[in-house]
């Protein structure tokens, strides 16, 4: 009886955890970023909040506005 109750609680807990992960994934805001690729195969990613991204993202916004004008 106790084992059944434990399994039920475990299942409920797992379901709540999985649901919260899915909810956060679907509603969570993706962070702006700039991904840069080089000819030697290396790649750098500047995520919103980094000093590099703070300089590059406004320019990217300018490109978007220039294209949609």
């Amino acid at each position: 009886m106790a084992k059944r109750k434990f399994l039920g609680l475990l299942g409920f807990g797992t379901g709540v955890f999985a649901g919260s992960v899915l909810y956060r994934r679907s509603t969570g805001r993706r962070r702006d970023r700039v991904d840069v690729y080089f000819d030697d195969g290396s790649m750098m990613s500047f995520v919103e909040g980094s000093p590099e991204a703070e300089k590059l993202l406004p320019v990217a916004q300018d490109v978007l506005s220039a294209a949609r004008r």
Partner: protein
């Protein structure tokens, strides 16, 4: 294939691309999907500025070949192949690999026009000289 044809093919193939401009490393616009020349120049200028600012952050001698700036309003792509460049914009969350592939194909198609060597002119046929004793 010229730049106009390459861009027409690009917009036909990729529904994700909203606008694209082909330009060289001097900033000269070769072709664009935008209607006005001024808009195309402004687009190319901003894309070149983005590329220049990004290249300033490199820590090695490697050259920048492509970049994607992803924002909530949409994404900006820039691809470089030697002195030829293409910049494009898409909506938010595009299929990045596919867009890069299409942009590279477009760039290659536009550049192929310049690379193709002109067909050599056919040499004029020589008249057969009469052999001694003939005629």
């Amino acid at each position: 294939m010229d730049a106009v044809q390459a861009l027409a093919d690009l917009t036909e193939i990729s529904s994700q691309i909203e606008a694209a401009v082909l330009f060289d490393d001097q900033g000269t616009v070769v072709g664009s999907t935008l209607s006005g020349a001024q808009a195309a120049e402004a687009f190319a200028r901003s894309a070149a500025e983005l590329l220049e600012n990004t290249a300033a952050f490199r820590s090695t001698d490697a050259h920048l070949t492509q970049l994607e700036a992803s924002t909530q309003n949409g994404s900006v792509f820039v691809v470089r192949d030697g002195s030829h460049l293409i910049a494009a914009t898409t909506g938010p969350s595009p299929t990045v690999g596919l867009v890069f592939y299409d942009l590279k194909s477009c760039l290659r198609g536009a550049a192929a026009d310049e690379v193709q060597p002109a067909k050599p002119k056919p040499r004029p046929r020589r008249k057969k000289e009469p052999v001694d004793g003939e005629a």
